[in-house]
Symmetry: C2
Subunit: 201 residues, 2 copies
């Protein structure tokens, strides 16, 4: 089955659009998606890639663009959402644990929904515990596991994997070494995956 | 008739895709397009918006992305094109004169074609004279007119108009005060223009 890797950080604004529409799109197109949380913030700082801070015109367009595009995906975000996230790394380390334990997709959707549609920033309370409870995970257990397990090293490893693929922003999509950046390239990535003659799963 | 303003600088890479596909798309959709050259470079410098210089990962993706998208528009660019342009301002001041005299669209297409498809940078020779001759303009007359007329002030005025609209990159499209950034938002801008109940022409 064709597959794509979906590289993202909870904290990226355009990733909201991708997260909320990807499961249905994957079903419709028959694509397997590997959800790959990483720290886009670490990479963007390294690369001096600062899209919004201190750039009011670009920031205003970003929010307006998301607001205009959301309805076509059946979404009704409250724009602008709280940005940037205070607990960026915690939000993403929980996702890393979710990837290890099999609930990364459900958690990511739950926390983005609360962030963009209910006004509660991801990674902070009440979003964090509410999102975990909503997907059947115990917040106390998860937060302890995030601190006590190898989440930190797995997070660094995921970020290094992204760096090696040439990823510089989020959301990004890879099919082998072919890189696509931006929610608006999701369909391109899916088309690319489906056009590959040989895929292994 | 619905209309959009197309804001661009000769020197922007993604603008190649827009320039080459816009006339046919405008015909097909019944949209009037006002071609508005300005200095995106001046605005980006002011805003510390540096997308590619010193950013190899992002630059590599930009070229690959253009290369992947070009065939769907029937285009065959030689990637990467020479970048950045040495004669950015001259290329765009000629466009300003073309706007005043009615040949801006033809000149912009001619010079992008030579830049992206024949390897000759826009604004420099042999591209500049060849592009002008190809559209029936005398290079000597044009270059003298660019120096002797109010092209410089018109160029500054166009850039200020763009700034006032919140434009921060190119290509951009405006419908009234509604701003769309990027070649991949051209269809959104056209849809927006067609959805407006009242248009004046």
């Amino acid at each position: 089955m064709p597959q794509i890797d979906f590289w993202y950080s909870i904290g990226s604004t355009y990733t909201y659009l991708t997260v909320m529409r990807l499961p249905a799109l994957a079903d419709k197109t028959g694509i397997t998606v590997n959800w790959r949380p990483f720290s886009v913030r670490a990479i963007m700082i390294e690369q001096n890639n600062i899209p919004f801070s201190g750039k009011p015109a670009r920031t205003a367009h970003m929010w307006r663009d998301i607001e205009r595009r959301a309805p076509r995906y059946g979404l009704s975000p409250k724009i602008p959402a709280s940005y940037p996230l205070e607990e960026f790394d915690l939000a993403n380390k929980v996702a890393i644990l979710g990837q290890q334990e099999g609930w990364v997709q459900d958690y990511t959707i739950a926390t983005y929904e609360r962030w963009f549609e209910q006004g509660a920033p991801a990674g902070s309370e009440p979003n964090l515990s509410a999102s975990l409870r909503a997907i059947g995970q115990d917040p106390d257990r998860v937060l302890a596991a995030v601190e006590s397990t190898d989440c930190e090293s797995a997070y660094l490893k995921a970020t290094e994997d992204a760096r090696q693929l040439g990823i510089f922003g989020a959301p990004s999509f890879t099919v082998g070494t072919e890189l696509f950046w931006g929610d608006d390239r999701l369909e391109d990535a899916i088309d690319w995956a489906k056009s590959q003659k040989t895929t292994t799963s």
